[in-house]
Point group: C2
Chain length 152, copies 2
DNA sequence: TCTAATTCCTAGTATTTTACTAGGATTTAT
DNA sequence: ATAAATCCTAGTAAAATACTAGGAATTAGA
């Protein structure tokens, strides 16, 4: 039960984009360098984000990507679902309709799966991209105060 | 981000065991038949449960398995962790200690991973095996009332 | 208009994980 | 003795993951 690199790298890419992209678009190459992710692979992840309407791509020299919506209106859930397909650890036929499973005992477990699914989705939906950017800025500032002369 | 059949089948096996096993041990064959799971595969899952101390195996003819603890003292989390290893969707070095990740931006995502991990574990830990057995009995009784003559 | 920088698109592939299957050794009730 | 069961380990087919590779299309700027 693991979140794949799609979700892990992709969220970091979105945070990076929110942080370094203001007016000007941010290129895949620059995100890949900062985040130490393969350019080719990152490209595929960002393609998913684009198809989900979370980022806009600008082609040609000087192009790159921009957030489609302000970070306040993008939840971590939006991002991870775009990358992972969905965030339901268990896909059980019984969860959709009311019937589904074969026997009675087969079906009791579905209450567990339902709660797990709800818990994960609620958790990621209540975190917004802007929260992460804010936190990132805070952490960076703290570092500056500890090492004022740019010591690594 | 999926829970594997280990967790899915294994939880059903534990519910079955709690429901059909009182004094007498329950055999793998009977669980496998009721739950429609391969005997050989189920055996491996129950081995994990045994190694985690959740069930006791009784060898020889007439043998089978028994719960080690009463269903009130076994959480769904205990069961799923025994089967899946752990229930942390993200294993991030930064989550263990306080350092870990390379750069500042690499590390902000860890707050997300932490929350997801906590949310999943909290959710499964607050459900006990006895709750599921109770629910299962309730559902079965309801069926009886709807179909009093044993109609399928 | 040419060139370089960039996104866009698709196919392929090595590695890992999952979900089993198979079969023999050991133990125990009858 | 025999049959019923757990116990143990090795193997394996299929699926998913995590990439790599490379070319087509677009655009800014010289």
């Amino acid at each position: 039960m693991k979140l794949s690199t799609k979700g892990r790298y992709g969220l970091r890419a979105m945070i990076d984009l929110a942080q370094y992209g203001g007016e000007d678009p941010v290129s895949i190459a620059s995100i890949a360098a900062r985040q130490r992710i393969s350019e080719n692979y990152l490209e595929q992840l960002i393609a998913k984000l684009r198809r989900a309407g979370l980022v806009k791509g600008l082609r040609g020299a000087g192009g790159g990507y921009l957030l489609s919506r302000p970070p306040e209106e993008v939840s971590v859930g939006d991002i991870l679902r775009a990358l992972e397909g969905n965030l339901n650890p268990v896909e059980c036929p019984g969860l959709a309709g009311d019937g589904g499973c074969d026997g009675a005992d087969l079906c009791v477990a579905k209450y567990v799966w339902k709660r797990i699914n709800e818990s994960v989705n609620r958790t990621v939906d209540e975190m917004k991209l802007c929260d992460l950017v804010k936190e990132s800025r805070r952490v960076q500032e703290e570092r500056e105060n500890l090492h004022p002369h740019g010591i690594e």
